[in-house]
Symmetry: C2
Subunit: 211 residues, 2 copies
């Protein structure tokens, strides 16, 4: 792997494990056993590393937020789709943990992150509309508008909520289960608007995926 890519990967891991505010470029160089000068040859400063990581995150998120287009998604599609979104958030969770702090330092990041949030809301609304048209869901346009925003809030902040609720001792304990729980929480928002068969399918899926 190239040094540049290793710097990005090491930074991501350190930011995720310790929080971005507590990690300096010296920590990153130390962890990699390279000189600070070598690191500065590739990146001018920490913010440049963060910007690059954000670009990676944004690319993956945009790919994930492509709503399945060809046919109406069923509950299992939606479960897997949401899981992908949560996995992306988990992979770059340091952004979400210090969101306001990071975004306030970088206007460009702020604009891009705002776009991701809009996209989350719009994709959620588009999927719901599709489900209504397919007769799987009953909801008014007003209800879909409120629902789509709630979906975006839960998808954005669920992992933060869980990590704040967990005691420090077991904060890294049940990560993958937290992702599945997040998917379940989002789908439970949608469930009351679904026809009976779809609700039953959600019940089965949650028994399967939640251990």
């Amino acid at each position: 792997m190239k040094t540049r890519d290793r710097i990005l990967q090491t930074s991501l891991q350190l930011f995720n494990d310790y929080g971005e505010p507590r990690i300096t470029t010296n920590h990153i160089a130390d962890e990699m056993d390279i000189s600070p000068g070598n690191l500065y040859y590739h990146f001018r400063n920490k913010d440049e590393i963060i910007s690059l990581l954000f670009q990676q995150f944004e690319r993956q998120m945009n790919a994930a937020l492509q709503a399945p287009e060809r046919r109406v998604p069923n509950m299992e599609d939606m479960w897997l789709y949401l899981h992908l979104v949560f996995e992306n958030i988990w992979e770059y969770r340091f952004f979400y943990r210090d969101l306001d702090n990071i975004l306030s330092r970088n206007k460009k990041l702020r604009t891009h992150f705002r776009r991701i949030l809009e996209r989350k809301v719009n994709t959620a609304a588009a999927i719901c509309k599709g489900l209504v048209e397919a007769g799987v869901m009953h909801a008014t346009p007003e209800e879909i508008a409120a629902l789509a925003q709630n979906i975006a809030v839960i998808a954005t902040y669920w992992l933060n909520f869980q990590s704040t609720r967990a005691s420090a001792a077991r904060s890294n304990d049940s990560d993958s289960n937290n992702l599945a729980l997040g998917v379940y929480q989002v789908l439970s928002l949608v469930a009351p608007f679904l026809i009976d068969e779809a609700r039953e399918l959600l019940r089965q899926l949650s028994r399967e995926y939640l251990t």
Copy 2:
């Protein structure tokens, strides 16, 4: 007003306006036109100010999270009740904006904040159970458990979500409307489980409160 109380009030305003990480004790003393020495006579450091502010917040939040006990709450009670919760969060919004950062520096705060989140979940569940017993709501215990957590997430992060979505230019623009919108978003989580009359009442209330 006593100097000590003025320090707390000034700190709260500066933290809310500029973010806690960007404000030092010198900024606070400057803003009040007192010497740093005078400030240090009252508080050893910034974290002690934050702890005191958190105690105020916790007291108000605990008072707000007392579920109405005597009778089953109707939709208007719930609207006003939630509004109180959102107002408290708004008053101390700097905590929520840099939550992870602030809580990671202070273990005691972390424990207390976790308790507030648990209380939000429990109060939401208790109210829902009350509504089910009164025949106003139809939901299984499983549905109530998922719903109560979603209510707590929306109530905790709605203002963050809105401020991140808003462009910097109009971030302080529509504050009070954001509170009412937050209430509406939470009630829209509950609505699909309510009997028709209660849903209709929610529709009326949102027309009344959302301008």
